[in-house]
Amino acid sequence: MSQFDDFLAAAKANLTVLGKDSFDGYSDQVKAMAEAALDKAKVNLALWTGQLAAGQLTQAEFENLVKGETDLTEIAGYTAAGISQAEAQRLRDAVTVSVINTAIDTFLKSRPAG
């Protein structure tokens, strides 16, 4: 198995964890952002492989960069999940305010004076 296959397998394992275990209900957005990170990683890996072959990167530096892409995938997943969470919060706040306003309108403002 090539290093890229290893990386891809690790990244997919991360995606599985992010999508199914930690972020139920947000997996589509998580996956979209993480897949974009994976696409980026693929392009980067081609560059870094060339730099490694040319002696511009040490093996440790190359490994650090590849592992860094996997870490970025995870961080991107947390951002995607957090955005969904914040949007859900705002929606819920708006609904709650609306319910309270409706209750006040219904039970107080419509009450006959005296």
């Binding site: 440790a60 970025l72 209750a103």
Partner: protein
């Protein structure tokens, strides 16, 4: 009269339940955290600029910046609703991972970091901070963050 009593009871019940319904599931926006993250991003990228020098020459700067990043991580972790941001900071600073913490560990073990690596790592860590900043911005209002910062690796 009886109707008014029922109405009052219903209103009281609604208002009593409102705090429960309003219990936040997402953390509130935090402009200080946003500014701190932006500042730490700039400081980290500046530090990487000098990582071609021997680590020992900059050990004090590394210690100072690491302390600031640790403080930001602790601040994020202080709010249980902020778990996602806290996890991001943990990944970023973990010396056994490969972003800020792992890069510092590599600098320390290797002595110096090569120019090609520094260029690429600056882009990578910059993107990590951009994701952190994007999440922070979206706590206040829906904000399109665009593509995270790109550079020579694209």
């Amino acid at each position: 009269m009886k109707l008014a009593s029922i109405a009052r009871s219903a209103l009281v019940l609604t208002l009593l339940l409102a705090p429960v319904a309003c219990a936040p599931v997402a953390p509130p926006p935090n402009p200080v955290a946003q500014a701190t993250a932006a500042s730490l991003k700039a400081q980290t990228l500046s530090l990487l600029d000098v990582a071609g020098d021997p680590y020992a020459n900059h050990a004090a700067e590394v210690t100072a910046l690491t302390a600031k990043i640790d403080a930001a991580a602790s601040a994020a972790a202080a709010d249980p609703l902020n778990a996602l941001s806290a996890r991001q900071w943990d990944v970023l600073r973990d010396p056994n991972r490969a972003l800020y913490g792992g890069t510092i560990a590599l600098w320390q073990s290797q002595g110096t970091l090569g120019p090609a690596f520094r260029d690429q790592k600056k882009i990578q860590i910059g993107r990590a901070f951009d994701y952190i900043l994007c999440l922070e911005a979206n706590k206040a209002q829906t904000t399109s963050c665009g593509q995270p910062e790109e550079g020579g690796a694209s």
